[in-house]
C-alpha cells in the first residue's frame, strides 16, 4: 500500500465504562481537520446513543436550510451503549443519520456487520463526517494504535466486493487479522443516483471473503460519494465478552445463554431465521395477500411458489455453517449464497458470495417486479450490493416505472429501447448497469419515484393523476 497520507492524527483510545467511551470523533474531509469531542452526561441521559447521538450531532452541525449536498451536511454513525455485546443477537448494529438526497430532511438507516462495535471499541461513541473533499479519500482508524489517517485514493476499485477485499487485505497483517477490519463504502452507481447506500463489511473466515450488510435507506451512500469519501476503514483487534464494562456480567451471561438455547430449540419450529433469514416471510405474506406484487397491484401470485423460502434453501443458500454478521449472533439471519455464478453484467461468469436475499429483496426485486426467477433475484441482489444501490428504493422505483410502461405512460423510445414489462429481469439488470455507468434511462430511474413522476409528466407527457396514484413514495422516500 502506497497511498499518500494527507493527514495523520494520534489519539489515546478511551476504555469503555458501562457501554460508553464518552468520546466522539469529528472529521472534516474538506479542511482535513480531526477533533475529539466529549460525550456529556446530558447526552447519555437524554439521547442514550445510536440514532439519538446521531441526531444530536446532526442538529448541531446543520441549519434548517441545509441541503443534502451542502458541505455542512453530515454522515453520523454510532453503535449505542449495547453495541458490540457478544452475548446477544443483533448487537453489531451501526445507526447512521444524515440529510437525505431523496427527502431533503434528516433520516436514519442502520446496518449489521462489524463497523459500529469496532468503532466504539476503538474509543469512539460516535463519528461525524462533515465537509466535502476535492479528491477521493480513504479514512482509516486504527483502534489499537490510536491512529487516524486520511489517505488519497490511488485508483481503488469502485465496486463494493472488489474494494472491500482490497482494503481488508491491505490493512490486515495476515489472514487471521482480516476479521479485525471493517470497511464502510458504497459502489459505482452511488454518484449517479439519489439512493446510493452504505455497505458495511466484515470478513468471514470460513468463506475467506468479505461480506456486507447495508445501511440501505435514504441515500447515505450518495452523500458519502458527494463528500468524495471512497471508504472508511476501522481496525480493532481484541474483542472480548465484557469490553463494554457492563454492571453485572453474570446476569448478562446467564440470560445470554438462555437466549441462545431458546434460539437453538425454537427457531427451526418458528421463524427459520437460521435457515433463510427474513425471507421466510415471503410465503406467509403471499398467503395473507400482503406480498407486494407488480407494483403493489395485488398482494400475491400463484408463481410465488417459484421464489419460496424452500427454493432458496434447497438450491442457493449454504446451510449449517454460521453466517451471522456479528460475534455471538445466534439468530444469524444474514444468509449467503456461496459460489453463486453470475450470468450477466460486467462480472458475468464469475463466482461470488451473495449476501441475501432478505425479505425486501425477494418481495421487492422479485414479486413486485413480476420476477419469479430465483437466479435473477440473486443476481439483482448482488449488483445492487456491489454498485451501492438501495434495493428497496430501487425495487419500488423500478416497479413504478414498469407499471408506467405497461400502462403506456412511457414508451420504448423513452426508456432507450428497454422493454420494461413486468418480469423482464434482463431489463432490470441493464437498468442497474446503466446506474453503475451513469448513463441512459437508469440515471432517471435512479432519481427515485418522486422525481420520476415529474420527469415522466414533463418530458414524456405522462398523466400526473395516474402517476400520483401508482407511485409508492412518501416525502420522496420509496417504501
Amino acid at each position: 500500500m502506497a497511498r499518500k497520507i494527507l493527514k495523520s492524527y494520534e489519539y489515546k483510545p478511551q476504555k469503555l465504562s458501562r457501554g460508553y467511551t464518552r468520546k466522539s470523533l469529528y472529521i472534516n474531509v474538506g479542511d482535513l481537520s480531526v477533533k475529539e469531542k466529549d460525550v456529556s452526561q446530558m447526552m447519555i441521559d437524554k439521547f442514550v446513543g445510536g440514532k439519538g447521538f446521531d441526531l444530536y450531532y446532526l442538529w448541531h452541525a446543520t441549519r434548517p436550510e441545509t441541503k443534502w449536498d451542502d458541505p455542512e451536511n453530515e454522515i453520523v454513525m454510532s453503535a449505542g451503549p449495547l453495541g458490540g455485546m457478544t452475548q446477544y443477537s443483533g448487537t453489531g448494529k451501526t445507526l447512521v443519520c444524515g440529510i437525505s438526497p431523496l427527502t431533503g430532511i434528516p433520516i436514519d438507516s442502520n446496518a449489521g456487520g462489524y463497523f459500529g462495535p469496532l468503532l466504539k471499541f476503538s474509543g469512539w461513541d460516535a463519528l461525524e463526517l462533515q465537509g466535502k473533499s476535492d479528491k477521493d479519500l480513504v479514512i482509516f482508524i486504527d483502534g489499537n494504535k490510536g491512529l487516524i489517517q486520511i489517505e488519497e485514493d490511488d485508483g481503488l476499485p469502485e465496486d463494493t466486493h472488489l474494494l472491500n477485499e482490497k482494503l481488508t487485505s491491505e490493512y490486515a497483517e495476515n489472514e487471521d487479522d482480516k476479521v479485525n477490519i471493517s470497511v464502510v463504502c458504497t459502489g459505482s452507481a452511488a454518484p449517479h443516483i439519489r439512493f446510493g447506500m452504505l455497505n458495511f463489511s466484515f470478513y468471514d473466515p470460513r468463506r475467506k471473503t468479505c461480506r456486507v450488510k447495508q445501511a440501505g435507506r435514504c441515500g447515505l451512500g450518495t452523500i458519502l460519494r458527494d463528500k468524495k469519501i471512497k471508504a472508511l476503514v476501522v481496525k480493532f483487534k481484541g474483542v472480548t465478552p465484557n469490553l463494554n464494562d457492563v454492571a453485572d456480567i453474570s446476569a448478562i451471561n446467564k440470560i445470554g445463554v438462555k437466549y441462545a438455547k431458546e434460539m437453538h430449540d425454537l427457531d427451526q419450529k418458528q421463524n427459520g431465521m437460521r435457515k433463510i433469514g427474513t425471507a421466510n416471510t415471503v410465503s406467509i405474506m403471499n398467503k395473507y395477500d400482503l406480498l407486494p406484487t407488480r407494483n403493489f397491484q395485488t398482494g400475491g401470485d400463484p408463481e410465488v411458489v417459484k421464489i419460496s423460502p424452500e427454493v432458496f434453501i434447497n438450491n442457493f443458500l449454504t446451510q449449517g455453517i454460521h453466517d451471522g454478521c456479528w460475534y455471538g449472533c445466534t439468530m444469524a439471519c444474514a444468509k449467503t449464497a456461496d459460489h453463486f455464478k453470475l450470468l450477466t453484467g460486467p462480472y458475468k461468469d464469475q463466482c461470488v458470495t451473495v449476501d441475501g436475499p432478505e425479505y425486501e429483496c425477494v418481495a421487492g426485486l422479485g414479486s413486485n417486479l413480476g420476477v419469479f426467477d430465483p437466479q435473477a433475484i440473486l443476481e439483482e441482489n448482488f449488483y445492487c450490493d456491489t454498485y451501492g444501490v438501495d434495493l428497496v428504493s430501487f425495487a419500488t422505483t423500478m416497479a413504478f416505472v414498469m407499471e408506467c410502461f405497461e400502462r403506456g405512460q412511457i414508451s420504448l423510445e423513452d426508456t432507450g429501447g428497454l422493454d420494461l414489462h413486468f418480469g423482464n429481469s434482463a431489463s432490470v439488470l441493464e437498468i442497474l448497469n446503466q446506474m453503475s455507468r451513469g448513463e441512459g434511462f437508469g440515471v432517471i430511474v435512479g432519481q427515485g419515484v418522486r422525481r420520476c413522476k415529474q420527469i415522466f409528466v414533463e418530458k414524456f407527457g405522462a398523466d400526473p393523476m395516474l402517476l400520483q396514484d401508482i407511485g409508492m413514495e412518501n416525502k420522496g422516500l420509496e417504501y
Binding site: T86, I249, S250, N253, A260, H264, G320, G324, T330
Partner: protein, 131 residues
Amino acid sequence: MKILAHKQDICTGCRNCEEACAEFYFKRNDRNYSSIRINNNDNTFHAVKCTQCGECINMCTSNAIYRDRLGIVRIDKKKCVGCLGCVGFCTELSMFYADDLPVPFKCVACGVCVKACPEGALEILVSQVKE
C-alpha cells in the same frame, strides 16, 4: 477418536471426577469449573460431558471451535470471543462457562477424571471412526 464414557450402574456419585477436573485445569475446588458434572437423579448418577459430536464447530460465531487430529473438539482461545453461543447450542448441555473466565470450556477426554474415580466408573473409549 477418544470419548469419555461413564458407567452409570457403578457410579456412586462421589464427584471425585469433578474435583479432579476443576483442580487440574483451573486450580479450583469448585464443580462449576469442571468439564464433567455428575447429576443425582433419585440416586441414579448421570454424567454430563462432551460426546465430541462437533455440532458446536459449525455454529461458532468466531470460527474458534475445531476438531483436532485425534478427533477431539477443541476451542481456540485466541479466536474465541466468549460469546457463549455454543453453551446455549450444545445439545448435551456439556459446554460450560464461568463468569470470570474469558472463554467457555469443555471435556477434551484427557483422562484426569478417569484416574480420580475410585470405582472405575469412567473410561476413555477409543474409536477408529473419525468424523
